[in-house]
């Protein structure tokens, strides 16, 4: 293949002064600025570009747009490798390296095209019939080979080194499609005063006008409108951008590609969420192929695409062309091919043809066959001859190019995505969008206006309508007309059913025979047909195959097209890289990170950090042990024997103020708060409306009308929102304000027998005696000019204090405690030790408050007593929640030396078959240095009594361990250590 052997000597919209080097499967080739990869390949005489999905049949470039089923390539290497890109959509760039797909060992010689010989086995439903049911085991064996044989390009495994962006944009009028309709709409809307976004997937605006002969009136029209639009300040012309999704509220999802991003230092792709006041859909139409035997051979192309290659890219894909059509549109391709020097034969399915077209054909020396269609093609890796069948019998015509046109399908994909079914229109034999929602308009081919004149006129009206919908009503000059574009409307018909391997879905290798087979086997619904045959399930989503398949099924069923219906359209319209949707929210930026005021200290002092929701918390400190298991046991000892310091800033903190504050708390907590004295704290449990436990925490009464509530770390946001809900919607009469102060306070727990001495040394101005600060008491003071609250509370079971200080003084207060605490043996401890300490004490936490347990399940029922009138009180009395055999909280003590209990293990009674859900499960475990054994908390059925033995089975760890059922309070049941 000599370089650019098929390039015409002149013409086209390419820049011949800017040649670009690129490669295809390693061959060095040259194209020009303004080429697509597809046009450059065609110019270089590359006709074979891929192998088909199932049969590995040779395939060539079929279209010139997003509908391309065949010419899928892989670009880039390593982490930049991107498969399944339509060559027709890739703007040629210098140094571009493309590879063909699904061929082995090479594109020209593919041993797997032997698959064709086995084709009968690969027909519709092959996978289901062969490998499901009794022969399912065979699938296990064959899957590997089938997956290797059938497929598309390979995805990259390495991390993608490129940058992607997600951004938000706004417009009064968004226009999808930059062809004559979209341009005309943009001009009208902009003149009316609207802020306009014009979205075009191509790198040039103009749509079908780009396929008109250079120097034509249409080309001049395009230039004039583009110039006018560029003069407006708030018209954004978004080329290389595809509207892939339509969402509620006139929101569009747009993907912009930059294939030269690396060179210009920009994001490779950007995903834009565009919020528009109104939308004009002007995405045009997609030409339908014809279904006949061997219609997939390289050299068969859509007629409009051939016209694009000839006029826009100055490429003559073949010198001996057959044009097969059912409508007037494709005649223009025949005329332009003949004018460019090709020898053209035209076969029109219609018996009666327009005299004007015939006269022009005759003038250009085109042989016209009326009432004729293609019956079969000859040729393997390139088409060699077409067998034409008509009233006068069959003739064979030598050719190297076959242009097909079965009419046009409006692109109803986007407008149908919100569930608005497209509507069949008999006069155009196609589907148009269903009724538009408020603020949505259609123009041009999308709504069946196939001529350029209609596109300009409907675009103009839609542009004015959309602008006016947004309140922009400045007077608009008349539409710029384009006289030459008024072609007679096309007539459409279905081609007779073909024999032999005639493809309906070229990408998925679905033939007319497959559809007939599906029909014979009872798959009549189009949704079933799609899944049974895999029709329309490729990366092109059946853009060219949808309508031919529908007509075939309609014909088989003897039904009309509207009776047959369409499949469901879902986003995205074209494939989207996951990277574009993620933008910069990857790795560390995947979600926000919350750090406590003492975060830096933890890092500097060897903490191993743990993600808890969005928070980073110290898991354990490496100074205490080599790994977490060694460290947490050591940290527990510091707390039990001297003093420990824990960062508890992540607790939810809510300030509750107002004359009715006590009433609010009395209603939302299951246990009473109305009588809590000022200066005292109380542990409280909240229920949901349905009577299940919601959250627990402590609330301190700072004044007659002021409380300080804490919640669990996990439920902080939910509790705040719940309080606000009740006050805003149900108890509007209560005079209370709640506000989250979680981030305002740093919080730390000082726990252990020497905790009081540490605090006294750290805050010498405060009286921390047992009289001044008894258990469940609070004192307030100042540290470093910031507010200080010390509440005497214990989670670990030891004498303990919670120290709250203004967040900006948190690190200083922590540092002070560490410094003065050292002589007393104070050491920091992490989340793992905290959890272990509370398990020893039998305190419940998240694993037990799991959204299924009640107060009685958790042994907290006695806190409530005979109270009523609190949230969840009525529905907690549901009979099912009081069943005697419900699982309730118990303790477990491991009975086997050298073995451990595991969280999540299923509990079985001794002798019970170890299957199913057992009698309960372990929720939390720890090694107890005090008891010298593994202990755990569990939820266990009521009929397994205290003192009984159970077996804890963890199948994934292959463990079965015997344990005693005991009280959940393993340590100090009388609570004497609180005062130690």
């Amino acid at each position: 293949m000599s370089s650019n052997s098929k390039r015409l000597a002149e013409g086209g919209r390419i820049d011949r002064g800017r040649p670009l080097e690129f490669s295809f499967d390693g061959s060095k080739l040259t194209g020009f600025q303004g080429d697509t990869l597809a046009s450059a390949l065609l110019a270089n005489g590359v006709s074979l570009v891929g192998r088909s999905f199932k049969y590995h049949r040779p395939r060539g470039i079929f279209s010139a747009g997003a509908e391309e089923p065949n010419a899928l390539v892989t670009l880039g290497t390593g982490g930049r490798r991107e498969p399944n890109l339509p060559a027709t959509m890739l703007e040629l760039a210098d140094g571009m390296g493309a590879e063909s797909q699904n061929r082995w060992p090479s594109l020209a010689f593919d041993v797997q095209s032997l698959n064709s010989l086995f084709a009968p086995f690969l027909s519709a439903g092959f996978y289901y019939k062969t490998f499901m049911g009794p022969t399912r085991r065979a699938w296990m064996f064959y899957e590997h080979f089938i997956r290797k044989a059938a497929g598309l390009g390979k995805a990259a495994i390495e991390p993608d080194p490129d940058r992607y962006e997600v951004r938000h944009a706004f417009a009064d009028v968004a226009i999808v499609g930059g062809g004559p309709a979209g341009l005309s709409a943009a001009r009208a809307a902009a003149n009316a005063g609207a802020r306009v976004a014009l979205i075009e997937q191509d790198f040039e605006f103009g749509g079908q006008i780009l396929s008109e002969r250079p120097g034509s009136e249409a080309a001049a029209w395009l230039q004039a409108v583009e110039a006018e639009l560029e003069g407006f300040g708030d018209v954004s012309l978004m080329a290389r951008t595809t509207a892939v999704g339509l969402y509620d509220g006139n929101v569009l999802g747009l993907v912009e590609r930059r294939d030269d991003a690396q060179a210009v230092g920009q994001a490779r792709q950007a995903f834009t969420i565009l919020r528009a006041g109104a939308i004009v859909f002007a995405g045009g139409a997609i030409e339908r192929p014809l279904v006949f035997s061997n219609n997939d051979r390289p050299g068969v192309m859509l007629a409009s695409a051939v016209r694009t290659y000839v006029n826009r890219f100055a490429v003559l894909p073949g010198r001996k062309a057959v044009v097969a059509t059912t409508n007037d549109g494709a005649w223009r391709t025949a005329f332009d091919l003949a004018a460019a020097g090709a020898q053209v034969t035209l076969a029109d399915l219609r018996a009666t043809l327009a005299p004007a077209l015939q006269a022009e054909a005759s003038r250009l020396g085109i042989a016209v066959h009326a009432g004729t269609h293609i019956a079969d093609l000859r040729g393997g890796r390139a088409v060699m001859a077409a067998r034409l069948a008509g009233a006068g019998g069959e003739t064979e015509v030598d050719c190297d190019l076959v242009c097909v046109s079965g009419g046009w399908s409006p692109t109803v994909h986007l407008t149908s995505q919100l569930g608005v079914k497209p509507v069949y229109r008999e006069d155009i034999d196609g589907f148009v969008p269903g009724p538009f929602a408020a603020g949505q308009f259609g123009a041009g081919s999308v709504v069946g206006g196939f001529t350029t004149a209609e596109a300009i006129e409907t675009g103009h009206r839609a542009g004015i309508g959309a602008a006016s919908y947004c309140g922009k009503t400045k007077p608009v000059p008349a539409a710029l007309e384009l006289q030459s574009a008024k072609l007679p409307a096309a007539a459409f018909r279905n081609i007779p059913a073909a024999r032999g391997k005639a493809f309906v879905d070229i990408q998925m290798d679905v033939t007319a025979g497959d559809i007939a087979l599906a029909h014979r086997e009872g798959y009549e619904s189009v949704e079933h047909l799609k899944r049974y045959t895999t029709l329309g399930m490729g990366t092109d989503q059946g853009k060219t195959s949808n309508f031919p398949a529908l007509s075939a099924m309609a014909a088989l069923r003897g039904a009309t097209i509207p009776e047959t219906g369409t499949t469901t359209f879902r986003p995205p319209y074209t494939p989207v890289a996951i990277g574009a949707l993620a933008g910069r929210a990857i790795g560390r930026h995947f979600k926000p990170i919350r750090r406590t005021p003492m975060h830096d200290w933890h890092i500097a002092n060897g903490a191993d950090m743990l993600e808890v929701g969005l928070w980073m918390r110290p898991y354990f400190y490496r100074g205490a042990g080599r790994d977490v298991n060694e460290a947490y046991v050591a940290e527990m000892r510091f707390v039990r024997e001297a003093a420990g310091l824990m960062d508890i800033s992540t607790l939810g903190k809510i300030d509750v103020q107002g004359p009715d504050a006590a009433t609010l708390l009395d209603r939302v907590y299951a246990n009473g708060f109305a009588k809590l004295p000022v200066g005292r704290a109380r542990y409280g449990v909240m229920l949901r409306d349905d009577g299940i436990v919601f959250d627990d925490g402590t609330t301190t009464r700072l004044g007659e009308q002021r409380f300080f509530m804490t919640t669990s770390t996990a439920k902080a946001a939910d509790v705040t929102s719940r309080l606000e809900f009740l006050l805003d919607t149900a108890w509007r009469d209560l005079r209370v304000a709640v506000s989250s102060v979680t981030d305002e306070w740093a919080a730390m727990s000082v726990a252990g027998p020497r905790s009081r001495q540490v605090l006294a040394a750290a805050f010498p101005a405060l009286d921390l005696s047992n009289e001044a600060l008894p258990h469940m008491g609070v004192i307030e003071g100042e540290f470093d000019g910031r507010a200080l609250r010390i509440i005497r509370l214990s989670y670990s079971g030891e004498r303990a204090y919670e120290v709250y200080v203004g967040a900006s003084a948190g690190e200083a207060a922590w540092g002070r405690l560490v410094e003065v605490g050292e002589p007393f043996g104070l050491r920091p401890y992490g989340v793992e030790a905290l959890g272990a300490l509370r398990v020893e004490k039998g305190h419940v936490a998240g694993p037990e408050i799991d959204g299924r347990t009640t107060l009685d399940d958790l042994g907290l029922g006695r806190m409530v007593g005979k109270r009523s009138g609190f949230v969840g009180d009525v529905l907690r009395r549901r009979p099912a929640l009081g069943e005697p055999n419900r699982q309730r909280l118990v303790g477990l003590k491991c009975l086997e030396a050298g073995k451990r209990l595991s969280g999540g293990a299923i509990l079985f009674k001794q002798g019970q078959t170890r299957q199913g859900h057992g009698r309960g499960r372990i929720t939390s475990v720890t090694y107890s240095p005090t008891l010298g054994a593994y202990v755990g908390l569990a939820l266990l059925a009521g009929d397994v009594a205290m003192g009984e033995e159970v077996v804890a089975v963890h199948r994934m760890k292959n463990e079965a361990v015997r344990a005693h059922v005991v009280s959940p309070v393993f340590l100090d049941p009388e609570g004497e250590r609180l005062h130690g």
Partner: protein, 103 residues
């Protein structure tokens, strides 16, 4: 993507809001011990195809709870009001709030 026109903050994306359930059900008084009333409030829903009154909270904004009337078929929002200041035509809280029939 819904946009909710918050009476305090103006039109905002729905991802700034927290959904709070059906606003057409009436919460029994806090000390109402009628089991049936609580059962209906917590579990019984109409699930209409059409206009639906529902609670949304502007959590990433003013934190007000709102009553939004949304068409469940197409997400069109007919009205947005503060839950705290119901329209004056609303009946007192011990009766079911007025509900428009499904369109």
């Amino acid at each position: 993507m819904l946009r909710i026109d918050c009476p305090c903050c103006g039109p905002r994306d729905h991802d700034e809001f927290r959904y709070g359930g059906d606003a057409s059900v009436t919460r029994p008084a806090h000390d109402d011990s009628d089991f049936e009333a609580w059962y209906r409030y917590v579990f019984v829903r109409k699930n209409p195809a059409g206009a639906h009154r529902e609670h949304w909270q502007h959590v990433l904004g003013c934190r007000q709870w709102l009553i939004v009337e949304r068409d469940t078929r197409n997400h069109a929002i007919a009205s947005v009001a503060l839950a705290r200041k119901p329209p004056t035509k609303q009946p007192p809280t011990n009766k079911s709030p007025a509900r428009k029939p499904s369109r």
